[in-house]
């Protein structure tokens, strides 16, 4: 029997949040979310309850990868180059701390976009969406230990990308 609207509502944020972070486009994320919700409605009852979150994330990821492939076919996809990310303008009206925070966010977004799969998905699902290791391993079809190693590498790459723009003394203060 198809899932009820109430059961679907429990998945809506995890689908959209993941899709938006992978696609970086609200319209595409909305389309993927609708498609995935329909699939979850149709087939969700065929998946065991305790494996459903991981399955939903897997369906979402596949839909996003399809959307990215379609986008690459449609127009030449140019990956973000960190060196080309403009620093936030340090407007005179903007206090330095705010400008630094805006700059940090911009560089973090770019660094995350630059991570290749599955590192990017792992960082998104763990650090942003706070999913359990079990659900992420299920979604990406990875052994738990491999997942932890990949998460370590993903986090490390983000730190390397951002270390240069945040002086160590600022972090220690």
């Amino acid at each position: 029997m198809p899932l009820s609207p109430g059961a679907l509502a429990a998945h809506r944020h995890r689908i959209y949040g993941y899709a938006f972070r992978l696609l970086r486009d609200r319209d595409e994320a909305a389309d993927v979310t609708q498609d995935v919700l329909v699939r979850v409605w149709r087939h969700g009852d065929t998946v065991e309850q305790d494996r459903r979150n991981g399955w939903v994330l897997r369906v979402t990821r596949n839909a996003c990868l399809d959307a990215i492939r379609a986008r690459q076919t449609r127009d030449q996809y140019v990956p973000t180059n960190l060196d080309q990310v403009p620093h936030a303008q340090s407007d005179h009206q903007l206090p330095d701390a705010l400008a630094e925070a805006a700059d940090f966010r911009l560089r973090l977004d770019a660094a995350l976009d630059q991570l290749e799969e599955p590192y990017r998905s792992i960082v998104i699902l763990r650090e942003i969406e706070e999913h359990s290791y079990r659900d992420i391993a299920e979604a990406l079809d990875l052994p738990l230990n491999t997942l932890k190693v990949y998460l370590h590498r993903g986090r490390q790459r983000l730190r390397v990308a951002l270390r240069s723009i945040v002086p160590a003394e600022d972090l220690l203060s």
Binding site: L8, A30, T33, E127, R155
Partner: protein, 166 residues
């Protein structure tokens, strides 16, 4: 223990996965090592920024999905139509039984002089086939009644009722 060792512990520290002793040991190291301390501070800041940027699904996106589902649901054959299809199958099988029984009747001793032994054997085969079809249709109908009627419309509401009463 050097910083390389602590670098691997950093992940577990961030996830709250160190034992009390290990965490205490790690914190002592942080107090003495500005490099590791800044690494932890940067990790915390990255995590905070990422979590602040979480995107929730807008209501209109979810509503649009529900509207699509409602349309798909409307286009599905209604339960009664599906039920009728099952009964048509059962009725067809029953008709075959009647037909086969008629043929069998013709093979009784009174009329056996007008039918050959091959014809009688063929009629018996048809009867067996018809009984098989009726059995299959009945089993399907039983499964259907249990899955699509009794469980969702009788057992589940009763179970929920009992659950609410507790």
């Amino acid at each position: 223990m050097n910083c390389t060792t602590y670098e691997f512990r950093l992940e577990a520290f961030l996830d709250g996965g160190l034992s009390v002793e290990e965490a205490s040991d790690f914190e002592k190291h942080l107090a003495e090592c500005p490099e590791c301390k800044s690494e932890v501070a940067l990790s915390h800041r990255i995590r905070t920024e990422l979590r602040n940027a979480r995107a929730d699904c807008p209501d209109e996106v979810f509503d649009a999905a529900l509207a699509r589902i409602a349309t798909l649901n409307r286009d599905r054959p209604p339960i009664l139509a599906r039920k009728q299809a099952r009964w048509y199958l059962a009725a067809t099988a029953a008709a075959l039984v009647v037909l086969a029984a008629t043929v069998l009747q013709l093979s009784t001793p009174e009329s056996s002089d007008t039918y050959t032994a091959e014809e009688v054997a063929e009629a018996r085969q048809q009867v067996e086939l018809a009984f098989g079809l009726v059995g299959e249709a009945t089993r399907d109908a039983g499964v259907y009644l249990r899955k699509d009627i009794f469980v969702p419309h009788v057992f589940e509401p009763m179970r929920r009722g009992f659950g609410a009463a507790e």
